[in-house]
Symmetry: C2
Subunit: 109 residues, 2 copies
């Protein structure tokens, strides 16, 4: 079908999948990398930094914003983006909880 059957999975599994999906595109990884590197808000030079067209970047930003990982503050004609540290921390906790399951797990083969 092309449609994920989210109803048969737990909320936690669906949430992990949502965050996984948002990091499932290198452009969004690159956007986050840049926001972390710059250590401040970025006023829309992401189009020059990353080599994609303005509507494409805008779309990726929208998805990151939709999951609450970044915020966009309007300043005049431009918009300043920065990381939502609190939401990032929550996401990080969830993802690391998933990734860290191996420390309790024995190797069997």
């Amino acid at each position: 079908m092309g449609l994920s059957k989210t109803e048969i999975f737990t909320d936690r599994q669906n949430q992990i999948a949502l965050f996984g999906k948002v990091f499932g595109h290198p452009a969004r990884v690159a956007i986050m990398d840049y926001l972390f590197k710059i250590q401040a808000c970025v006023c829309g030079d992401l189009v020059n930094e990353i080599g994609l067209a303005q509507p494409t970047i805008s779309q990726h930003l929208k998805e990151l914003k939709h999951l609450g990982l970044i915020k966009g503050n309007v300043e005049g004609t431009s918009v300043c983006y920065c990381i939502d540290h609190e939401n990032w921390m929550h996401m990080k906790k969830l993802m690391i909880g998933f990734l860290d399951q191996d420390i309790l797990s024995e190797s069997c083969c």
Copy 2:
């Protein structure tokens, strides 16, 4: 277009995106959860455990195997799946390195 422009991103960013994508579906998260929970190899009862058809599970397993996160050992007519702990650790290191960027980053707004 529908085609990611991987060539304009770093290898690291593309790799993070690949792992992100594989966790971008709740069925694959559920498969990993189950493998960790069971603490042993699983011989094909994943179809019953997760509520998807056999070809669908097989396809998800293939993607996890392709990234090296699980191994499949043929045993008679059945196949036993288990986690590749070494590759999981490498993946985990990469992902946590990405997620942990916030500890060096100041909040600006």
